[in-house]
């Protein structure tokens, strides 16, 4: 029977959670890199035992760890993330210019073709690529040096590049998202980038038609429908049917459309999941009830999923990289909370159970299906 491996990054280390295909009984391995912040761990699609982890701390900076045995052993690889050329300025919170400064890697996205090729999303926002298994990193500077770069401004979490989505067949196309600049698309394998934010509406910026400045929290795509993108923005759940050319709101009947993660079911490209959070000033679920909302219609019509989730006195958050789906049948879905719980559902969200309850605050969750 095939199994599932969850790669969980937390404020104080990495955890690897494994189960067989029934997804009822979980084995917890970790903490790996105890005491360090693990923003993200991700596996190579072409070799699930090849993992990359972003390890950082306020004291000792950024490291990248690599595993070739599914997370049993790790090796530190390259951590030289140098911006290409003149770094220039972006806007600081107060609107003054601020030089670009590397802080950490938020997200690692291995290539769909080659386990030695991996992309990294940085704060301050930039995208890097390694072609040698993480030993060396080169910036794709066309993004950061886009004409709008001097107008990018950090969100509350920093000027972070947090989402990297590769087109499943067109190797020249990729999407990235930056808080609080927005979504960018490349059609030439990362040489040049275009903002793709038309239709977003953000009360936090004065010009609603601005090409940048939107606080995009997360975007998601189903590989069978690569022109359809879903977005959890700071406020608003959005959808694009033309590869980011334009966006329209699909928040519909959600109790609140603020939140961080968004995910698409592995086998149903119109089934999407969000976790509504009360507001940007409170950062916890409405009414103390932890509810995942599912739309089977690609947005607008949503249903709360509550079975097995705490429905009283729950005030955790679910961060943008902390939700993932598996590709088993029926499809599984998982998320981690700032309270250290990881919840899983083996039936597409109908029922949930804790996988583990008392980890450090969860920053990221990825799901792998094992042979």
């Amino acid at each position: 029977m095939s199994g599932v491996r969850l790669l969980v990054g937390t404020r104080k280390g990495a955890f690897v959670l494994t189960a067989d295909g029934a997804r009822r009984d979980w084995e917890v391995s970790g903490p790996h890199f105890g005491g360090w912040e693990i923003y993200h761990i991700n596996g190579a699609p072409t070799n699930p035992d090849r993992l990359y982890a972003s390890q950082s701390s306020g004291w000792f900076g950024q490291l990248i760890q690599r595993s070739d045995d599914g997370g049993k052993t790790w090796e530190p690889v390259g951590n030289d993330f140098t911006y290409e050329g003149e770094t220039g300025d972006h806007l600081w919170y107060d609107g003054t210019p601020r030089p670009w400064e590397f802080k950490r890697i938020w997200h690692l996205e291995p290539s769909l073709d080659d386990p030695d090729t991996v992309y990294a999303g940085a704060e301050d926002a930039a995208i890097f690529r390694s072609n040698d298994g993480g030993r060396s990193w080169q910036e794709l500077p066309g993004l950061r040096t886009h004409d709008s770069g001097s107008r990018w401004q950090p969100g509350a979490g920093g000027l972070c590049l947090h989402t990297i989505i590769q087109h499943p067949t067109n190797r020249d196309r990729m999407f990235i998202a930056i808080s609080a600049a927005g979504v960018f698309r490349t059609d030439d394998a990362g040489k040049t980038w275009q903002p793709t934010n038309r239709g977003l509406r953000s009360g936090e910026i004065p010009d609603q038609d601005s090409e940048v400045g939107h606080c995009v929290h997360r975007i998601a795509m189903h590989p069978s429908r690569p022109d359809v993108l879903f977005m959890q923005k700071h406020w608003d759940v959005m959808r694009s049917d033309d590869a980011g050319g334009s966006w329209h709101e699909v928040s519909g009947d959600l109790p609140t459309d603020f939140g961080f993660p968004i995910a698409v079911h592995a086998h149903e490209p119109e089934t999407i999941y969000v976790v509504p959070i009360k507001s940007d000033s409170e950062h916890y679920p409405p009414e103390g009830k932890l509810r995942v909302y599912r739309s089977r219609t690609g947005g607008n019509e949503w249903e709360p999923l509550t079975s097995g989730l705490p429905q009283a006195n729950c005030y955790v958050n679910v961060l943008r990289d902390a939700m993932a789906v598996d590709t088993l049948d029926p499809g599984g879905i998982y998320f981690g909370t700032t309270g250290g719980q990881v919840y899983g559902s083996a039936d597409g969200g109908d029922t949930w159970a804790p996988v583990v309850r008392d980890l450090p605050p969860v920053l990221s969750v990825e799901a792998q299906v094992l042979p």
Partner: protein
């Protein structure tokens, strides 16, 4: 032989015990010791000194002989007792954060 003591996280990262012993050619300065340390343990690059600027990271301190040497010029000679191997050069994670 120069003796260097690392903070716990960096000992784990470099997979070393309580103390590292280094041969340092030429004048024994903060820069020379850290260069030798990073040559022997390349995984420590960027963890003590910033990768881009080469400056000491803000929450890292250097102590020796009961003195805080953190803000000494990197090319200043280290104390004689460190050069003689009688005292260790301490790399310390500052008390900050959570």
């Amino acid at each position: 032989m120069i003796r260097v003591v690392l903070p716990a996280h960096l000992k784990n990262l470099a997979r070393v015990g309580s103390e590292v012993q280094l041969e340092v050619a030429g004048q024994v300065t903060q820069r020379a010791v850290l260069d030798a340390l990073e040559t022997r343990y390349p995984m420590l690059r960027g963890t003590i000194r910033d990768r881009q600027t080469g400056q000491r990271r803000a929450f890292v301190r250097f102590y020796a002989c009961e003195e805080d040497l953190s803000n000494e010029p990197p090319d200043a000679p280290l104390p004689e007792r460190v050069v003689a191997g009688e005292e260790a050069f301490l790399v310390v994670g500052a008390m900050a954060g959570g």
